[in-house]
């Protein structure tokens, strides 16, 4: 019953807002190029359904590839850091610099280096840079958080570094890694959108480009439809990763147990 309310309450608010929006647009006769009514957006969505879905597929592909690349690179870097303090001291500052430099500023450079004939690769690289840091930070912290006594125990039994990593450090890091992944999932989408914006006309085929294009043509209803699709995608990515987190931690971690 409480669950049902959790779902119904936000839906009721959405319905109320949409009805108000529809009514307000009709009442004050707001021009469609300023604010289209929800019904007009729905119509634009159904008219452009195929092209919007193609654009979504393009953006989603970049997002997922970047997310996977960020997970693999972030975890691998964190593992390397956990094995050598020197390596961590040498390279962590550069990871931070990469993180704090606005990606919009680096993106044109990457596009030039990679080349417009390989635009997809360039987009994936840009989105990967955006999504990389939370994975690295989460995994690095997690790998360091292993119980000292458990580490001592592995030493007592003559375990190799690889055994300690696999049996103790990685499982300890899992909740931290998953938390980083939840942030990174959303960032990969943002990175993909930013990359498309920077890549600009003629080359990009994703949702972000549809937004730019619709804006230029004053097809504000289509713009809204693309925007709604982007927001929905972000929510779905977050929900999928939350589900993965719950499933992996449900037997042992406090966060998953209190949530279920």
């Amino acid at each position: 019953m409480k669950r049902l309310l959790d779902i119904l309450a936000p839906l009721a608010i959405a319905a109320l807002l949409l009805a108000g929006w529809e009514g307000a647009v009709a009442h004050w006769q707001v021009p469609a190029y300023v604010l289209p009514a929800p019904s007009a957006i729905a119509k634009a969505f159904s008219v452009n359904f195929v092209s919007l879905m193609q654009a979504l597929a393009s953006t989603l592909a970049v997002t997922l590839e970047a997310f996977v690349a960020a997970c693999v690179l972030g975890l691998a870097t964190a593992i390397a850091f956990s094995q050598s303090r020197l390596l961590e001291r040498m390279f962590y500052p550069y990871a931070v610099i990469l993180q704090v430099t606005p990606v919009v500023a680096i993106a044109p450079l990457i596009l030039i280096w990679v080349g417009f004939e390989r635009i997809n690769l360039a987009l994936v690289i840009i989105a990967t840079i955006v999504a990389f840091f939370p994975i690295l930070a989460g995994a690095t912290l997690g790998l360091k958080s292993a119980d000292f006594n458990l580490i001592d125990l592995t030493r007592l039994y003559g375990a190799s570094r690889a055994q300690t990593l696999w049996r103790i450090r990685l499982p300890t890091a899992l909740p931290y890694l998953l938390s980083g992944m939840k942030t990174a999932g959303g960032l990969a989408l943002i990175g993909a959108v930013v990359a498309e914006f920077v890549a600009g006309s003629g080359t990009a085929t994703g949702l972000a480009w549809r937004i730019v294009e619709s804006g230029n043509r004053l097809e504000i209803a289509t713009l809204f439809a693309a925007l709604a699709l982007l927001a929905l995608t972000g929510v779905l990515i977050f929900a999928a990763l939350s589900l993965l987190e719950w499933w992996l931690l449900r037997r042992w971690h406090e966060s998953a147990i209190s949530a279920s």
């Binding site: 119980d147 006594n149 125990l153 030493r155 003559g158 055994q163 049996r167 971690h253």
Partner: protein, 240 residues
């Protein structure tokens, strides 16, 4: 079985934990290392285990380094693994085949009274049961020397007494050698065959008290007499 000779240990923060610490534990003994908090008991235990190296002096094992089981004050279990997997950890690290590991880990769990709890996760177990899993893990590798670092300090008295009796039984049945770090006089007086009383930091041995073997209960006159002896020695050790 093991001898510490003039062992000293200073930590990176400048604290001199141990100075000229010497003692011997013979095969089959149940020795309790007793001292006030912060006297370096745990450090001494880590030296014996080979987890720390002494700055001066030596740790010698007679007849080669024995197989060692270590039980910490906290249960130190892996929260992501069930009781069987936790007890199997030493065997996994020694790359025993999985089936053999499972068999031995299950046997170790059964010995500490946890048959039927193989699939339970640590968070589903009580404090005493978690400590039992921890002891089963130490037993799984069939150690000759069992080192315990205030293993019952975080438990209530009833659980503590039950675990103490179980430990005595395991010691008798397996012919283990046990070195038991504690700050509890009553625990030492009942469990140990010999009590090493340590001074406050830097820790040295202040007294070496052999106790009669005939203490069949916690309230036996011999146990009470042992408590009186140990308390006296501890008092002198702290006062000097």
């Amino acid at each position: 079985m093991i001898t510490l000779q003039g062992a000293a240990k200073r930590f990176a923060n400048g604290v001199q934990a141990l100075e000229d610490l010497s003692f011997t534990v013979k095969r089959g003994e149940f020795v309790s290392l007793l001292g006030p908090s912060g006297c370096g008991k745990s450090t001494a235990l880590r030296l014996v285990a080979g987890l720390l190296a002494p700055d001066a002096g030596a740790v010698r094992y007679m007849g080669g380094k024995p197989e060692i089981g270590f039980v910490f004050q906290d249960h130190t279990l892996m929260p992501w693994a069930d009781a069987l997997t936790n007890a199997r950890l030493p065997l996994d690290l020694k790359k025993l085949p999985r089936r053999e590991g499972d068999r031995r880990a299950a046997a170790a769990l059964a010995r500490v009274g946890l048959a039927g709890f193989e699939r339970a996760f640590p968070r589903e177990l009580s404090g005493g049961m978690k400590m039992r899993v921890s002891i089963a893990r130490a037993l799984a590798a069939q150690p000759q020397l069992l080192l315990l670092d205030e293993p019952f300090a975080a438990l209530d008295e009833i659980t503590r007494n039950a675990l103490g009796d179980d430990l005595l039984k395991l010691w008798r049945e397996d012919g283990l050698t046990v070195l038991f770090v504690t700050h509890s006089v009553s625990e030492s007086s009942y469990l140990a065959g010999r009590v090493l009383v340590m001074t406050p930091r830097p820790g040295r041995i202040a007294a070496d008290i052999a106790l009669p073997a005939t203490r069949d209960s916690r309230l036996a006159p011999a146990t009470i007499e042992a408590q009186r002896l140990i308390s006296g020695a501890l008092h002198t050790a702290i006062a000097t």
